[in-house]
Symmetry: C2
Subunit: 341 residues, 2 copies
């Protein structure tokens, strides 16, 4: 394949961090991104160049382009962490294959992306493009955090932002492994769908009496892990209502709250703790055999229908600057960018 010299890409306009914390929402991309024609990146030692078929848009992408994620932005480099595509060049035996990947050197919201060859994930032919495009960030996070749940030997766990893509993956894992998910959502309308999916209980945090039934739920189900993407005061209150040995595992920050610790004695006398989960660290510290095994599970689950990708919309790259915010504003489903249309 002859590669072109230039490509279309959504390029970052700023370096580093923004010093704000406004969450993973965006109404206007133009302060942080621009569609530009830039050179196709050249793979160096240990790298692979991928012709992008479809790129995912995750909450962490929005945090990142706004300068509110745990990694600094690089001006002039395309955004987009995740996607699926064909390996077209580089230091890898996988040239010509379809792979899912996490872009470490040049982002996926572009016609071509550059990443470490060691992180490429070959895709089964029967894996749909939307499942393959979002195979890493959400599914691998779900598998990794659910390993925490399984390894702790508990019968129930709590998750919030439970209507998110990741929330639904976690609920389905709980359902399939007989570990009861307690789903926390903001909107009462989400409850029925999550119960149908497999949630044992749904707590609606916007209810005036949301904490009312919680004591009974905790007593009956004894959840000891709280998987938290929100980080608000309601989450802290739930944590302090959990039984002995409870772990509050924070992996996202949808709320701008600075939650207060009203019952610190529980760290001492009830052996509770607060910790964080970051997929990047997990990948460095997990048993190396667990990662390919997890991708086998992930592809099986999507192909069998145990997991379903809800698609809010697929936006052609040339239309993304104007259309992506509208698709992201939909209450359910995941947005994608298609650089080939």
């Amino acid at each position: 394949m002859t590669l072109p010299d230039t490509m279309q890409a959504l390029v970052q306009l700023h370096d580093g961090y923004a010093d704000t914390a406004t969450g993973p929402n965006i109404n206007d991309l133009s302060p942080v991104l621009a569609q530009q024609t830039i050179p196709v990146p050249a793979p160096g030692k240990g790298q692979a160049l991928i012709k992008v078929h479809l790129a995912a848009v995750n909450p962490s992408d929005i945090h990142f382009i706004k300068g509110e994620y745990g990694q600094p932005r690089i001006k002039g480099v395309p955004a987009g962490f995740e996607g699926v595509g064909e390996v077209v060049a580089g230091d890898t035996p996988l040239i010509g294959q379809r792979v899912s990947f996490y872009a470490t050197a040049s982002g996926t919201w572009a016609e071509y992306a550059l990443t470490d060859a060691s992180g490429l994930v070959p895709c089964r032919p029967d894996l749909a493009e939307v499942d393959a495009a979002g195979q890493i960030v959400n599914p691998l996070t779900a598998i990794a955090m659910f390993d925490l749940v399984k390894d702790s030997g508990i019968d129930s766990f709590i998750l919030n932002a439970a209507g998110s893509q990741l929330g639904k993956l976690l609920i389905a894992l709980g359902r399939d492994h007989g570990i009861k998910p307690i789903a926390v959502v903001r909107r009462a309308q989400q409850a029925a769908a999550l119960k149908a999916l497999g949630a044992a209980e749904v707590i609606v945090s916007s209810d005036a009496d949301a904490m009312g039934g919680v004591a009974d739920t905790m007593k009956r189900l004894k959840p000891r892990i709280l998987l938290d993407a929100v980080g608000d005061q309601f989450t802290a209150d739930l944590f302090f209502a959990m039984p002995n040995d409870a772990r509050w595992v924070n992996y996202g920050k949808l709320s701008a709250d600075a939650p207060a610790l009203h019952q610190m004695g529980q760290f001492i006398f009830q052996n509770k703790r607060i910790e964080g989960f970051w997929l990047t660290r997990w990948m460095k510290t997990a048993d190396p055999a667990r990662i390919p095994q997890a991708f086998g599970e992930i592809q099986d689950r999507f192909v069998s229908g145990a997991w379903v990708t809800d698609v809010a919309g697929v936006v052609p790259l040339p239309a993304a600057m104007t259309q992506l915010p509208q698709v992201l504003a939909k209450p359910d489903g995941k947005a994608f960018i298609d650089p080939r249309s």
Copy 2:
């Protein structure tokens, strides 16, 4: 030895918890304790009766008698967790020996106390009574928490309430093991004595610019464990100023603050965590060989002078109801109750 039928004791007036959180201070004992003549308790299976030589008064005792500790009070039972005395009866080969002990069945602020025979700690003859009376709560906590510090392989740690008895024991351990203690105190007057004792740095939390030099200290010494007896917002701010992988280990609650978590992203991206330490749990989960070994170290340290017990005052039991609050109000040193005088 013929035992009397009755004894003098400071007896608790309430059951259970108080539903307040006012810290380990007390101006008047009469709402919670009364000096009474009660029967000498009879040891049952696995128990030992001790004629108390000297009883310690720890912050946890004050929390407890006020109904603000993690264990429920029992009305009519003497207060006092810790002391030294002679074993006079019970299910133990140690009858006639001098032992330090933690009273599990009937408290030490009495002429006789009752505890599990398995927890008795025989004392070297050259161990002073004030050292022996306070051998468990503070020294064993210091050894156990310092094991966390040693096992984490760090070069520096932070402790607050550093002018407390426990704080001084921890500073001396850091000094003797070459792991630099960063001492946090409220009053600037405490700084010189703690530096002389072995603190590498002293942070005075009441200074208007207390956080000013902290960034530099963190960069230079890289402390990754914070041993916290206070639980206030200043402690939370210090924690968020610590480097990656920092652990906030809470073991006490001198402040009534509900500290707010302003930088939750650090749990995710910097692998930080908050946990608790409770000696009672440590004793159940530690390597069983570690506990007698720790008491060997503790007695060596007191006899050699590596540790010193600062005595604020020894109050005769019959005078304790009126005099103990005054001794406890002294800024430095530990209070004791003498039931033999």
